[in-house]
Symmetry: C2
Subunit: 130 residues, 2 copies
DNA sequence: CAGAATCCAGCTCGATACTG
DNA sequence: CAGTATCGAGCTGGATTCTG
């Protein structure tokens, strides 16, 4: 995002710069719920592929594989293949990944703090509509 | 999210509680790029429907309408219809919406700070693959 | 001006099956 | 164990058309 308004939004340039707009980029990344989950779990320490698969109940191997690959590409997660038989692969969060994880925590705190208000608002809205 | 790990992730319970998990909920909301854009723009002050439409270049009226409706339902944005002819509708951010907007700023800052590293990592990854 | 309704192309994602 | 490949259902979101 090049020139910014006080809020940091540049509505005119947004689409043109979408590919390089940092906000848009990070949004695309954390919009991926699996990525956020993986990042959160790896915060506890290195985990293997099928361990992740079991701990993130509901994820398909396709999505886990895909998620890990793009997290690795972004430098947020690192992959280490240990030449055992059969092979063992260990994923860990990188220092960069930890900084993102820490930032995302702000959102979780917002959610925990304000969820009740949001839920209440939704109920009122729905009640009014009926 | 009920019992939390130090990182705040409860992998086991995630899917079961997905409907009420605060993290998941806020993620679903900010995962919507249009919602984030609208929230950002409304931070500058009240804006009318077609003004938003023009300033967020690339959004369809369908998505804008949809986005505004769910933001209003969540209590993040308020709608005021002014009985002129033709009718004028003014959207503004609520105090609650401002708190979310402020939190999302943390992400924008992370992105601005670390985007270069991420881009570099991607290039290295792609180069290594080729 | 501010939307609602419809139609449909494209992409996501899960299920399944196979490999080193 | 740690993936890749393929197929198809389903949802997302744009274009278009119409209304109060």
């Amino acid at each position: 995002m090049l020139p910014s308004t006080p809020q940091g939004w540049n509505a005119q340039g947004w689409n043109a710069y979408a590919g390089t707009c940092p906000t848009r980029m990070v949004l695309d990344r954390i919009a991926d719920k699996w990525a956020v989950l993986v990042l959160g779990l790896l915060g506890d320490g290195p985990v293997r592929f099928n361990q992740l698969r079991r701990r993130i109940e509901g994820i398909s191997q396709k999505m886990l594989s895909q998620t890990l690959k793009s997290l690795e590409r972004d430098g947020l997660v690192s992959r280490r293949a240990i030449p055992t038989v059969p092979v063992t692969v260990e994923y860990s969060i990188t220092p960069l990944g930890e900084t993102l994880s820490a930032t995302v925590d702000g959102l979780r705190i917002w959610a925990e703090t304000h969820m009740e208000q949001v839920l209440k608002s939704q109920q009122q809205y729905d009640a009014a509509a009926a």
